[in-house]
Structure formats: C-alpha cells, structure tokens
C-alpha cells in the first residue's frame, strides 16, 4: 500500500472546511442572506481591527485550554466529553478562594493568582479523576460518565450561587476584588496607549504555555510516550509493561486539570464573578471540535482555537446569531466525514468488476 504524501491530511482538512463554508453559504442563501457578505462580515467582526482581534483572542482562550484537555485525553482514546464540567469546576475552585474566602480580599495578586490557578487545576483534576477511576477500575464508559458529570458540575455551582454566595438574590456571586483578576492589556494602557480598551488577559499566555508544555510532554517525555503507545495500541503497551489502569486515571486527571485551568482563566480574566451562564457556554464541547481539527496537536490547537474564537465572536455580530454555530456544526460534520478519506482509499469500481 502506498502512503499518502505528508500534506495529504492537512489538505483534506482544509478541503473539509472549504466544503463546510460552501454548505454554510448555501444555507445562508436559503435563509435569505448573502453568503459573501455574511462571511466578509464574520471576518471583519473578528479580525477587522485591534479591538475585535483582542475580543477574538479573549474568546479563543477558554477554547484553547478545553481543546488541550480534550486532545490529551483523546490521544489515549479516552473520550472525555466532560471538559465542560471540568471547566466549570475549575472556575468554581478559583472562585471559592475568593468567596469562601480562603484568602482575604486584599491579598497581593502575586499570591492570589497562583493559588487560584492551583485551585482551578485541582477541582478540574478531581472532576476528571472520578470518570477516570470508574473507567480504570470498573470499565465504566467514560463518555457517559463525563457527560453526566457536566450536569452535576452545573447544578453544583448553581447551588452555591443561589444559596451560599448569592449577590442580593441574583444568580451570581459578588464581583471578585481586582487583586484576584488576571492582568489585562488595558491595565497597561497608561504606558502603552495602544492597549487601551483591549481585554486580552493573562489567560492567553497561560494557554500558550500550557500548549507548549503539553506538546513537550506528549512528544518528548517518557510519560507522553506511554500515552501515545497506549493510544495507538493498548495491547502493545501492555506488552511493553505499561500500566494502562494507572495511566487512564492520570490522563483523565490531567485532562480535567487543563479544563479546570481554563475555567479559572475565564472566571478571573473575563467574568470576574461566579455565574453559570457565561461559564457553561459550551467551551468544553467546542474544545472537542478544536482538538479534533488540530489532529490532537497542542500547537496546532492554538491556531484553531483562534479561528473558533472568531466564529463565536461573529455570533454577536450577525443576525441570526445561530449562523456561526451552524457553520461550526457543519465544519465538524465535514471533518468527521473527511476522516473517512484519511483512513480509506477511495477506489472507483465499475459494476461487474471485482473489488
């Protein structure tokens, strides 16, 4: 069998996106819109100037971290679709530091932020631990368990913001003190005027560093090697003396931790209070698509996240706002379909001819 050239997977993915855009365009046309103007508008609304570019990046940040969470789990063929819940629990963990309060409101950001990061990572990891453990110990299907845990996470946080940390009966906690906010570009507008109004926050840097570290872990560390081996052929991994049970739990925890870090970054960089609506916005699910699109490569996930950030942002701009969501969906379907082309070679066999 001949191996397709190196560019083949990338070309097929690109082709799939093109097909998706064309299909989306047709649908827009059916809905009475002008596809070219809509796409131009999406592009302008997401990358048109420094302000919207910054907004795109703000949207991309949580997606990047959830997609990293998914890519490490998927690498081991653990279908963690609970990044959503792990993300929310990460936000909860970070919020709890302020709201309990574990640290007083006047704590220096140099302490606040690292402690909140740890809390987010910890809560996410715990949320990944349960399905990982159930899978490893009792072979419970992780798709089901992680999905269920999403709902538990939302209800859990809802309970706290309704009953414990409610701000005057509203379904949200009080705003966090500014010490507990991640620094944003606009904070430096006094020295660098061009930054004024830009809400891009430290979460972006956290995400990029996480992506680089994850890349090194996967491709350059002993543990990453074990993960790749298990993902590719679990029986070979067993034969090589690798403990699959332990790695199942560890990888689910790492996956949860990354999603949790995403939740922490979102709540401290963007939302600034504990509130379910802006947190449970589907970042965990978008992360699945992005991880897939990036072929589970953390560095590629950075680029793809920004693309999806743009699509999300465009939702604010175009009416009806369902359009970018729909395009996202079409892209996903096309990519899954294109996976078929990667795995199999299509050969046209005329009737009567033997395959």
């Amino acid at each position: 069998m001949k191996e397709p050239p190196r560019w083949y997977p990338a070309a097929v993915s690109l082709g799939a996106i093109m097909v998706a855009l064309v299909l989306g365009g047709i649908l827009i046309a059916f809905a009475g819109g002008d596809p070219f103007r809509s796409y131009a508008h999406i592009a302008k609304a997401s990358f048109g100037n420094l302000g919207v570019l910054s907004d795109t990046i703000v949207k991309a940040t949580p997606i990047l971290l959830t997609s990293l969470a998914c890519s490490i789990a998927f690498r081991m063929k653990l279908w963690n679709i609970g990044a959503e819940g792990q993300f929310i629990m990460g936000a909860f963990g970070a919020g709890a530091i302020v709201l309990t309060p574990i640290l007083p409101a006047d704590t220096s950001p140099w302490i606040f932020i690292p402690v909140m990061m740890l809390a987010g990572i910890l809560m996410g990891a715990i949320w990944g631990f349960f399905p990982g453990f159930l899978k490893a110990r009792f072979n419970v299907n992780e798709i089901i368990s992680t999905l269920m845990m999403n709902y538990i996470a939302i209800s859990w946080v809802n309970f706290f913001i309704f009953a414990v940390w409610t701000e005057g009966g509203f379904q949200m906690s009080p705003k966090f003190p500014e010490n507990a906010w991640l620094p944003r570009l606009l904070d430096y507008a006094k020295t660098i005027p061009i930054f004024s109004g830009l809400t891009t926050h430290l979460g972006l840097l956290i995400g990029i560093v996480a992506a680089i570290v994850l890349w090194i872990v996967i491709y350059r560390s002993r543990w990453g090697y074990e993960i790749r081996l298990i993902g590719d052929n679990p029986r070979a991994a067993q034969y090589a003396g690798i403990n699959i049970t332990r790695n199942t739990v560890l990888v689910m925890m790492l996956s949860g931790a990354l999603a949790g870090l995403g939740g922490m970054s979102e709540i401290t960089g963007m939302v600034h209070r504990l509130q379910t609506t802006p947190l449970a916005a589907g970042y965990g699910f978008t992360g699945i698509i992005v991880a897939w699109l990036a072929k589970l490569n953390p560095l590629v996930a950075i680029l793809v996240s920004i693309l999806f950030g743009a699509l999300l942002l465009a939702g604010r701009e175009i009416q009806p706002s369902g359009v970018p969501k729909m395009i996202q969906g079409i892209i996903l379907v096309c990519l899954i379909a294109s996976d078929f082309l990667m795995r199999y070679r299509v050969r046209i066999v005329r009737a009567g001819e033997e395959a």
Partner: protein, 535 residues
C-alpha cells in the same frame, strides 16, 4: 446434462459415488498471499468431510469461496453436477449450501425463532411467532439441538448460539453444511452433542464439511479427510478409517527436506527458566494449561511443538507476565516472576517475540524509532530525568536499521507501512538489543518469505551462541527440529514428552515420535508400544 452420478477425473473419488460438490483448481489470492493454490475438493452425498490444516492453510478461504462470499480468481465449482457461479451467500443457500462461520452472525436482542426467520421472505407481514416456535422446536427435536425457541440470543451460551446457527441453516433447507472450526468455542460435553447432531444430519442424507485443525476430532467424526497446507492440497479425500493420526499429522505439518543450518555445538549452561506445574486459563475462561513443566538453560534453544491452540500462546503469556497462572510457578534465574507484571519480566531480561506482530508486537501508527525503544525507553541513555532523549533514540533506531537490515526510507516512518519481514526484523532488533537472558519466540517466522525466515533463524542461533536461553514456540516442525537442542511437545496444556536432538540433527523416527505426541500420545506410551513390538 450430467447426471448426479457423473464420473470425475479426481482420483480421490470412488467411481459411481454421488457427488454433492466438486471444486476444481480453485485459486484465491489476497494481497501478498496465495490463500488457495489450485485446490481441488470433492464432497460426496451423505458424508462428513473434514478439512484439515494449520492456521492460515487456507481452509476458511476455500469454504468462503464455496459459500459465495469470495469469488475465486480461477477454478470451477459444481454443485450436484451443475456448474455454479455464486455472487453472494444467498445464491449459495439457494443451491443448498450453508456456512457457519467462526464468528456467529446473530442478533442478540432477538429470540431464537426471530433469528432463524430473519432475512427470509416468509412470513411476509404478520409474524405468527407461536406457529414458527413450533416449527423451530420440531426441528431442534429432530436433530438433537437443544435450544429454547423463545429465548433471546444474548441469554444463550456460545454452544447454544451455535445450535441456533445450525437451525437457521436447516430451516433454510441446507443440505450441505459447512462448519468453520465449530469446536473451537465449545466445551468437551458440547462437542459430543455437536457430533451427535452432525451424525443425525448425515443420517438424513445431508453432507457436512467440518473444518478443524484438531486431529483427534477429525478422526472421531469424519468419514473422509482433505488436508490443506500453505494453500495447497496435501492429501485429498483420505478415508478416515484407513488413515492414521501420524499420517494426518505429517500431511498437515509437512515433511519437507530439513534444511541444514550452521548450528555450532554448544554446551548448555545454567538453568535460566523453570516452569513448574503451571495451570492457566485462556481468554474464554477455559483451562488452557494443565500442570505444565519445562526448563530452558542458557545457550540452548528449546522448541515447543504442538498443533495450534494447545496452550502455546497462554504459556508464552504466563512466562512474560501477560497472563496470570492459576497454579504452579515460573522461575527465572532463581526468582519467581509469574503473576507479577510484564514490567518485572522486562526488567529481569525476558524478551518476547509475540505471535501477533501487528496486534501486540508493534504500535502501527508510531514510527520505527518509537517502536524500537518500547523496551528501552525507561532507561538511560534514552530516558533522562523523565524525558526522552530523541537524538539518542534516533541514533539507536538507525543503528538497528543498519545492523538488522530493516528496509525503510527513514526511522520516522510509521511501522504499519512495513512488510511482514521488515516488521519482524523491527521486533527482533528490539528484543535482541536488550541482551535478554531469556527469549520467548512465538511463531517467529509465520507468514514470512524464505529469505526472511533464514534471517530470523540466523538471529536466533546467534542469540544461542551468545548465551541466551531461548524458548521457541512454533508450529513448523522442520523449523523446530533444525533449530532446537531439545523439543518438548505440548498437547492440551500438558507436555507429552521431550525429544533431544543430538549433533546428528533430527531423524525420521524423531519426527514420527513428535507427530504422535502432537496428537496426544504421551511419550511413555510410544516407548511402551515400541518395546512391545521389539519383543
């Protein structure tokens, strides 16, 4: 038109016998293998005809051709005297040919009756299941196929599911039933029941093709036997009453010229591996090893001969820590290593060439480099503070590529693109480079071409010279006899006996003795028989 009593040119068929099936010169090729090489096969009316051969001999392929699943590249098929040209199993069933595959094709959530009716034109609209339950019950009564018509298939044991498959074929009016290794999944009692059913069917004038690689079963049930070896017929339509186990064993495993290898005389050293009274279960939970004992010394190759499926795989897994033993123990250089982990074995210098190169031995999408460091990635110089030194790993892979002649453009290539021989060299390179004290090689040359086989043999011999203890598990008798210093024979999880091969190599008597043991005769019995004859 030909009558049913047409004469044939095939000498194996007695003149005047009624022929049900006649396959002539069947050729079927798969990428890289000639699965059937001009095979002739003749089935008579009212007989149980065994198709015997080792794994990969081409038995299933031949029968899939007959059952309409595959189209042969050339050759003709006559059913009841008429030339047929099946393009689907449906056509074959219409002609009265039904096949029961190794993997059953039933719908678990439906009842027995529903499964039997599935895919038929009648009943059309309304399922009068009660009525059909009766028909199924009658049919199962008639052929001694105990099964409850209303039970859901998922509730049934494997043996019962097989009965449903048989009923399905009977209901469709099949009079030529092909069963592909039907006993592989059955317990001994169920095998007895199956045999009764088969006899009942033959009594009603049906013919049965019984695929197996188990000699004693074939002797117990078959009227005639056709033996396949490497895609070719080695014995056509032998009368089962007039042949012997030895004869069949010989046809099955072959008795080609034993090639001479440059095997140096070697005095074995200390005992490296001791297997003591080991018992273990197979994946289905059936007893696979029944108190098996053997030992291997440094600097010797010890062969384990036996027909496939007699516990060889399980033994290799127990020794390498991939399977638990339920009793007994495995000792390596004085240390108990069984029931610990595969890692313990690896760390103590056990290397393992697994039977399944793609399923177990390699990770297909990973590179050659990633595949050759599988056993070494934990140790320096490749591992450094939890990280992999990729430069060292790549250099290591390139060295192995050179010294083991792995033909591949570069070491970044995923191993799924390698040919069988190259893949095996990757595995051998990895397993030998760890300087093992024990090497367990399972079917190391299966499916390789002659050149590659020779390379593997040379590598095994050089390991022997450098003092490794080697347990060679193989179904190729010639290979075992020419490489080994001693050969054990395994049968149903027990050692039947041991044959020492001296400086002179193997003799025909040795082959006969091994062949007899392979079919379940213990060595003492053979010796006793010889002694009596000599008196």
């Amino acid at each position: 038109m030909d009558t049913l009593e047409r004469k044939t040119t095939n000498p194996s068929v007695a003149e005047g016998a009624t022929l049900f099936v006649e396959m002539n010169g069947i050729v079927k090729r798969f990428p890289g293998v000639l699965a059937n090489d001009h095979v002739d096969f003749v089935l008579r009316h009212g007989e149980i005809h065994a198709l015997l051969g080792e794994n990969g001999a081409g038995k299933s392929t031949l029968m899939n051709v007959l059952a309409g699943l595959y189209r042969p590249e050339s050759g003709t098929i006559l059913v009841k005297g008429k030339v047929v040209n099946f393009s689907s199993p449906r056509d074959a069933i219409k002609a009265g040919i039904g096949m029961i595959h190794q993997h059953f094709m039933l719908v678990p959530s439906q009842t027995v009756t529903e499964n039997i009716l599935l895919g038929l034109d009648k009943p059309r609209f309304r399922l009068q299941l009660n009525e059909y339950d009766h028909i199924v019950a009658d049919l199962s009564e008639r052929f001694g196929l105990k099964v409850e018509p209303r039970a859901k298939v998922w509730q049934l044991s494997v043996g019962e599911q097989q009965r449903v498959e048989i009923l399905k074929m009977l209901y469709r009016g099949t009079d030529i039933l092909i069963m592909d290794e039907p006993t592989a999944v059955l317990a001994p009692q169920e095998i007895e029941d199956l045999f009764k059913t088969l006899r009942a069917m033959v009594a009603e004038g049906k013919s049965i093709i019984f695929i197996s690689h188990k000699l004693h079963e074939v002797m117990a049930i078959a009227d005639r036997v056709t033996v396949l070896r490497k895609g070719k017929v080695t014995a056509a339509g032998l009368d089962a009453r007039k042949t012997t186990l030895q004869e069949l064993a010989r046809q099955m495993v072959g008795r080609e010229v034993i090639f001479h290898l440059d095997k140096k005389l070697n005095t074995p050293g200390e005992i490296v591996l001791e297997v003591e009274d080991v018992c273990a279960e197979n994946d289905k939970g059936l007893q696979a090893l029944n108190g098996l004992s053997l030992d291997v010394r440094a600097g010797e190759i010890v062969g384990l001969a036996g027909v496939a499926g007699n516990g060889q795989r399980e033994l290799a897994q127990v020794i390498t820590g991939l399977r638990r033993c339920t009793d007994g123990c495995v000792i390596l250089n004085g240390e108990v290593i069984c029931n610990r982990s595969a890692l313990v074995g690896i760390q103590r210098g056990v290397s393992h060439i697994p039977e399944d190169r793609t399923g177990v031995g390699t990770a297909p999408d990973l590179s050659v480099t990633d595949n050759v460091i599988m056993k070494q990635y934990r140790r320096p110089p490749i591992a450094q503070h939890g990280m992999l030194n990729m430069q060292v790993a790549t250099k290591f892979a390139n060295e192995l590529k050179e010294s083991y002649d792995i033909i591949v453009p570069n070491v970044e290539t995923p191993v799924r693109l390698l040919s069988g021989g190259n893949l095996q060299r990757v595995i051998l390179a990895r397993e030998i480079s760890g300087q093992p004290s024990l090497m367990v090689a399972v079917q190391p040359t299966r499916g390789l071409d002659v050149g590659a086989i020779e390379g593997v043999h040379r590598l095994l011999l050089s390991q022997r010279e450098s003092g490794a203890a080697i347990l060679l598990i193989s179904e190729e008798l010639e290979e075992l006899l020419s490489l080994s210093d001693r050969v054990y024979v395994i049968y149903e999880g027990r050692i039947m006996g041991e044959v020492k091969i001296g400086a002179g190599g193997s003799s025909p008597e040795m082959i006969d003795t091994v062949g007899l043991m392979m079919t379940g005769t213990p060595l003492e019995q053979i010796r006793k028989g010889e002694a009596e004859r000599n008196v």
